[in-house]
Symmetry: C2
Subunit: 298 residues, 2 copies
């Protein structure tokens, strides 16, 4: 259990690192005050900060300084935040609450929420293009930007969101469900790990191996989400248990039974670790994160 | 008059160059069909393509091959298109028509319109990060991306849009009106010229001189817009003459009288040209564009 505790300590301390760096990228800018407030409101609304923590964990696994990953980590968190602001809009999921607080458009109005999202998305690219560190070459920054577009844009998260919207009206096959998760949430999780690897100067082969690792980790994350919606503690997960069934959402337990979903979760965690073990890096931390994701209660 | 005709020929031929290149960046991608249709619908809806044409004109003024500027030109047009899609949304300007055609959300629904905008914005950065040309260094691409974020994001167009929304409720001073125009439309026009200069390998001094040129050109463009709303031909400008007054919009003629606005237009065109003449480049084409903008009837 020491392993799991130390991983969870890593999560909580690095979450703080990111949370103290994140507002600085917006706070100091000379921009309309309402826009700044709206962006900061959502950036500072909490969350696990899992994506930036994965950047730092990957750097650490390659024996590199974690500080290298802070700008990219914050860029990813800005993208994740913009996607939540736009997802919550009345024309999308129409959510009034996010993490127990009123959603951005509820506080600032829809127009400003759209623009705050657009602003966070645009600004995120500058955090990467202006990284100022002797170990980060211009080519690395361009690779980070190119991969981020694929992960966050129409071939990744935005495409997954469209597929999800269109899937809401029908019952999905396992293949369709996997496509949605892989794109809507998986690609940005994967990017977090790949970005850490690029910054660490990883080889092409190492990056491809980590991509497979991330693919399985991302699906495991999503299957655990579906299981928590059935077995979870309402207070811990922050939303009513059983909401997927009520909303007639296609989930892994619905397609595979609860037992089948649990087996699939174990399989993906095993496959993730198998890929990890083929790399010549210190895998303890990333393995610990696998276990945390497989066992998390929120 | 030969001068003006040759500039307008440049405009119309280069508009075609951009319009034939633009869909290719989206058409070939493997993404959800509805998302592709929605993005292409707005990308192919026409317009003057002034921004990409300015990239090509600047390259030509430096004696460089215009083909160097096509990816950046198309990236700027994607950003311009995303901003129109989001501006037209019911929560923003609530427009049903754009260039005589139903707006994106009228055809594809609001949710898909938001995501098509997000997708175009994200994808635009990849057109720059993946430029494949021996003359374009990694450092140039990063400078292009950094400047694009400033021009299109919270310090530029998005910030200007917020200022414009907030200004709608009150009558503005000349200074406030100028801030809005400089940011909402000026910065992306300026970027088009600066991007051409970066690709041409211009010096810092040349870039700063062109920035001043663009500042005056952008304001002239906007003043002409306001004048056309009073004196223009409804059929040519594609919207009812007098709509600014009806919507109680603060305009240059409203603040300065029509005569005063015309004088200010002439002053900005003169200042633009003055900056241009301090550069050791072939200025004929950019001067011609100044004249076209000062005299355009739509």
């Amino acid at each position: 259990m020491t392993q799991v505790i130390s991983t969870s300590e890593f999560l909580s301390t690095r979450k703080q690192t990111i949370e103290s760096a994140l507002p600085d990228y917006i706070q100091s800018l000379s921009i309309p005050e309402s826009l700044k407030e709206s962006m900061l409101y959502s950036l500072e609304a909490g969350g696990k900060r899992l994506r930036p923590v994965l950047v730092l964990a990957t750097l650490s696994s390659f024996g590199k300084s974690e500080s290298l990953g802070i700008p990219v980590g914050c860029a990813i968190e800005m993208i994740h935040t913009y996607s939540l602001i736009h997802d919550d809009l009345p024309c999308m999921d129409d959510d009034d609450l996010r993490r127990g607080k009123p959603t951005n458009h509820k506080v600032f109005g829809e127009a400003l929420a759209v623009l705050a999202g657009d602003g966070l998305l645009t600004q995120s690219f500058q955090l990467i293009s202006t990284i100022d560190h002797p170990e980060v070459t211009a080519e690395m920054k361009l690779q980070l930007i190119t991969e981020l577009v694929d992960a966050a844009g129409i071939k990744g998260m935005v495409g997954g969101q469209v597929a999800d919207m269109e899937g809401e009206k029908k019952s999905l096959s396992l293949e369709e469900l996997e496509f949605i998760h892989e794109h809507k949430t998986g690609k940005l999780l994967e990017y977090s790990i790949i970005a850490g690897a690029i910054l660490a100067g990883a080889s092409k082969e190492e990056i491809e191996k980590l991509r497979e690792f991330s693919f399985h980790l991302g699906l495991a994350f999503q299957i655990r989400d579906d299981i928590l919606d059935i077995e979870g503690d309402q207070e811990k997960i922050g939303k009513p248990v059983g909401s997927d069934k009520e909303n007639e959402k296609t989930t892994y337990p619905a397609l595979l039974t609860l037992e089948g979903a649990k087996e699939k979760l174990v399989t993906h965690i095993q496959l993730a670790k198998m890929n990890l073990h083929q790399l010549l890096i210190t895998t303890t931390l990333l393995e610990g994160l696998c276990d945390l994701i497989a066992m998390r209660d929120h």
